[in-house]
């Protein structure tokens, strides 16, 4: 059993559903007591502030569980979704529905026939990692809305997995999206960052199968990429390009070229042994940047969400920026991460600022907020990771005064 004391438990499945579906003008009903949905909005979904109520709670109470007031809830959900004129309804499960075995799939079918709107459920519980919930939500969205393409858009790109729990505010992923467009590609869709000029955010979902390539920028997008390869034959690239070399290698992979060996950076490295903690795709992007742009000799990655799927070859994967090292680990254990951070050999830690509480000795600490850890606590912090801006941010951190 995991013990947390100084850290927060990471966001779980239905938080991931919220993050994945927020931009698509639907209504996400978290099937649990009001408190669960309240906390998502207030803490984990800062985009909610004065924005649409994408996530609402079912307001489940004890007697509802005992007596099973299913009809009431179906009526309430139907009423609200019609009044608010939402484009779809998604039902997300919680520990309560998991334990009492609520038939959310049956709810969905009933609601769909009653409201004549698209309704689907996402089987979440409350203990699974958030990428699992986000991935299931993306698959549900794809199965509901994607249509067989009549033609392929040359150089059309879908970006998969850009959920705010992994990639933060839209402005942080924007440099990557701009770089993709400047390189001559067109963005067919970005899951889940709304693109300018989209009156119907679901149109991008419908058109997504027209893309020529998919780009997976977090593990939340992997399952959808595999699905779209199987269903539409769209190959994909995995990676979050951080820094200069990461940017070049990313576009080489997109062009279907092999990544060429990099010349060693000039000058002495800013540190000898760095530890990167956080979402694995970004973690490996940071690792490449530290090694290839800054010449850091040792960089280890701690993936705090499951990363196994990243290491396996998949038929649709054209290439990846994920290169697993011998000391890379996958764990969200507070005790294990604390031990790794305080290894005397480690002289630089890049992680969400919450992890700084685990340091027991002075070490350079570079903040890299992971919203699935710190939510709104670090939402407004200045930081960058994508392409050139990521390089500039790290260079600025290395040249500045080390933080305790």
């Amino acid at each position: 059993m995991k013990l947390y004391h100084k850290l927060l438990p990471l966001a779980t499945g239905y938080f991931g559903v919220s993050s994945a579906l927020y931009a698509f003008d639907g209504l996400v009903v978290v099937y649990g007591p009001a408190g669960g949905a309240w906390h998502i909005n207030i803490e984990d979904e800062p985009r909610w502030y004065r924005g649409p109520a994408t996530v609402v709670g079912a307001g489940l109470l004890e007697m509802d569980v005992i007596l099973g007031n299913d009809d009431t809830f179906i009526n309430n959900i139907a009423t609200v979704s019609m009044q608010l004129e939402r484009r779809f309804v998604a039902l997300a499960g919680t520990p309560i529905s998991e334990i009492i075995g609520t038939d959310l799939k049956g709810f969905s079918r009933t609601l769909e026939s009653r409201t004549s709107r698209p309704v689907f459920m996402v089987p979440t519980a409350g203990s699974e990692p958030y990428p699992e919930g986000a991935a299931k939500a993306f698959l549900a969205l794809a199965r509901k809305f994607m249509v067989q393409p009549e033609a392929t858009r040359k150089n059309g790109i879908n970006v998969l997995g850009a959920i705010h729990l992994s990639t933060g505010k839209e402005e942080h992923i924007e440099p990557l999206l701009s770089a993709i467009e400047q390189a001559g590609y067109s963005l067919v869709s970005v899951f889940s960052v709304p693109r300018p000029g989209q009156a119907d955010p679901l149109s991008a979902i419908r058109q997504a199968p027209e893309a020529q390539r998919n780009v997976v920028v977090s593990t939340s997008g992997l399952a959808l990429a595999d699905h779209m390869f199987a269903a539409y034959g769209i190959p994909y690239v995995v990676g979050m390009p951080v820094g200069l070399r990461g940017r070049d290698d990313f576009f080489a992979l997109l062009r279907g070229e092999a990544v060429t060996p990099a010349p060693a950076p000039v000058g002495s490295p800013p540190c000898r042994h760095a530890l990167v903690i956080g979402e694995p795709v970004l973690g490996y992007g940071l690792k490449r940047c530290l090694r290839l742009d800054f010449g850091v000799p040792e960089v280890d990655v701690v993936s705090v969400t499951p990363a196994q799927a990243l290491y396996q070859s998949a038929p649709g994967c054209l290439g990846t920026l994920v290169e697993r090292g011998p000391r890379d680990v996958c764990t969200d254990s507070e005790q294990d991460i604390e031990a790794l951070m305080n290894d005397p050999a480690v002289d630089c830690v890049i992680a969400d600022p919450c992890y700084a509480a685990l340091l027991t000795r002075p070490t350079r600490f570079i903040p890299m907020p992971h919203i699935a850890m710190s939510a709104r606590l670090n939402w407004d912090l200045p930081y960058e990771y994508a392409v050139d801006k990521g390089y500039d941010y790290l260079a600025g951190q290395f040249s500045g005064t080390p933080q305790p």
């Binding site: 007591p33 669960g36 309240w38 803490e43 709670g57 004890e62 309430n76 520990p95 519980a125």
Partner: protein, 432 residues
Amino acid sequence: MHVERAGITLEHLTRREDFPFAPLEGVGPNLAGWGVIETCLLLPESLCVMAGPSACLRHSAFMAHARGFTDRFFMLCVPELDMTMGRHLEKIEQGILDIAARRPEKVIFLIVGCPDYILGTDFTGVIARLEAATGRRIILGAMAPITIGLKDSPFTSAYTSFFDFLKHEARTPDPDAVNILGTFMPLSESGELYGVLRRAGVERIRQIPLCADLAEFSRMAEASCSLVLHPLANSLANRMDKDMGIPAVFVPTAYGFSTIAARYAAIEKAVGRPLDVAALEQGARQAAEGLCHALRDTPLAVGCAINGSPYELAAALVDMGLHVDTIFGRGGFAAYEWKLIEGLRQKAPHIRVYNVSHPNLCGETAPFDHIGVAYGVDAGMFCAQAVNVPLSRYQEQKYGYENALWMLTQTHSAMENPVSNHDLIYKNQFLI
């Protein structure tokens, strides 16, 4: 308009059933304060271990971290399947043994969530073994929002559990000792209520958040009476009255001069000696005149995230000759609040009351653009053009006429140097 379904005028709010029903919980920043964790940790020499699915733990962890309770708060992640199978009991027991082995606290609160509540998990054996093995008191509690509105809230239960640390104390009533119950941010010793009580000869005034240890806390058993400043404490006060003979009076935080006068009258009766508050009232009324002048023509909104009842604050503002336009309230009403509503309906039937949890309210700001000052961060959410005055229970705990003047000076300060509602919520952490 979507938003119309979420509100009703006071004129038509004549029965609880009239209040707009929220078909789903639209959830606004309106549930601030008094989480189970912070309530438990009011007890000195205690720590809290919460066990449950990580989603539930994450919710509570935010509150504990934001309130600076990290040092005394531990979380044990339990998957749902383990709970259903009852396989988590052994692990929780071992987890608490490990924590207790390296911590000095004498009391350990074991807090479980809705799943264990629904499953009816029996922790009796676990607790008995843990108490025997550690020599600590182990108290079971629930962070179970699924119980809201049905019985004592989890917060009230946690607060009431403190009774177990008082009930066996030798009871030698001290006529010069008074308990103040229901404060989280404690009243200042230099504050008005302390001064009033001391001038009346009440020498020993005790509040739970100021007790350094359990020994000091146990001296609350000596009190001649308890003053209850927040409904949370009513259940504890009632038990202390019934089983220990310590009478209690419910005198919640108020902003209106007439209400404050009534509160002091009730306190006077409870402590059994005259209180000298006439000069305080006169001074406060004079000071308020100038402060109210600038607000005369400003439409005001009151939310339920304030320290106190929104209906009491609204009535106070109306009595000061000000124009309250809107109230953002919760679906549940305490009996004392319903009396406030009935009084306010006579004075200002035009006031429109919204159910702050109604999903139709979320994202709606245009209907409230005419509001000039919004009290409470929840009201500030919807009143985007208004100056926001949080009156949060996490700022300062004040009482009496001092509290009314504090509210007015806070209003002036906010009007002169407005802080955005966004910054109040996301930077100052008033909500959790």
